[in-house]
């Protein structure tokens, strides 16, 4: 129940295309869903996050779509660029105050020039 399942494990997208990464969860108590981006040799960094009171959140070319009934959320990267090549982790947590995150297994994205 604490797991967050992420797919695909790896993804190759052409420059200008749309990258889509999906995550699913079981625990309905989760109420915070961030995405982290990790470049080679660096630690993960928060990219964008959503709470279940909205179905979509957009920041520039990055959009989270959230489907509460299906217990799924996804990251869409529009107009993908080679600089977006990185590993992406979805995560989930519950409650306010102290935040313990449960991470997905990661998606390695390669955007080809």
């Amino acid at each position: 129940q604490q797991q967050v399942k992420q797919s695909p494990q790896s993804l190759i997208v052409q420059k200008g295309g749309i990258s889509i990464i999906n995550c699913a969860y079981e625990n309905t108590a989760f109420d915070y869903f961030p995405w982290y981006q990790q470049f080679p040799g660096k630690g993960p960094a928060l990219l964008i996050a959503i709470r279940p009171d909205v179905s979509e959140k957009k920041e520039g070319r990055f959009t989270i779509s959230f489907n509460k009934s299906a217990k799924q959320f996804s990251l869409h990267i529009m107009d993908s660029q080679p600089g977006d090549s990185a590993t992406y982790f979805c995560a989930a947590s519950m409650g306010t105050g102290f935040q313990k995150l449960v991470f997905g297994t990661g998606t390695r994205l390669l955007v080809s020039p």
């Binding site: 960094a45 928060l46 102290f98 313990k100």
Partner: protein, 113 residues
């Protein structure tokens, strides 16, 4: 800028050695975390701390211990290193506020021979 630093980028140790991984954050964050990152397994929480001298087990604490004597410093200890502890170790900190954003260090690549 929030900065989380880890004492070593690369570390090679022998089986049975005692290993110390150090992490320091400069943003006065209450919460600190140790994760290990393995391909296909994502980020798995080893231990976390929400206050000085307080510690809680994460999902995979076996073979590890931690120490938090000062707010800014969180140490991960491998009492007797084994080859299955070869991994990337990531430290993170957060303020524990509603956003729960975790700030990660660059990681320590530990190889146990």
């Amino acid at each position: 800028d929030v900065k989380v630093t880890q004492s070593s980028r690369y570390l090679v140790k022998r089986t049975g050695e005692k290993v110390f991984l150090e992490c320091v954050q400069d943003m006065d964050h209450e919460n600190m975390f140790w994760y290990r990152q393995d391909p296909g397994l994502g980020l798995r929480l080893i231990y976390f701390s929400y206050d000085v001298k307080m510690k809680e087990k994460g999902d995979i604490p076996e073979g590890y211990s931690v120490s938090r004597e000062k707010k800014e410093r969180f140490s991960l200890i491998l009492e007797s290193a084994s080859t299955n502890q070869t991994s990337m170790y990531l430290c993170a900190s957060s303020s524990g506020g509603p956003s729960g954003e975790q700030f990660f260090g660059p990681g320590t690549r530990l190889t146990v021979l």
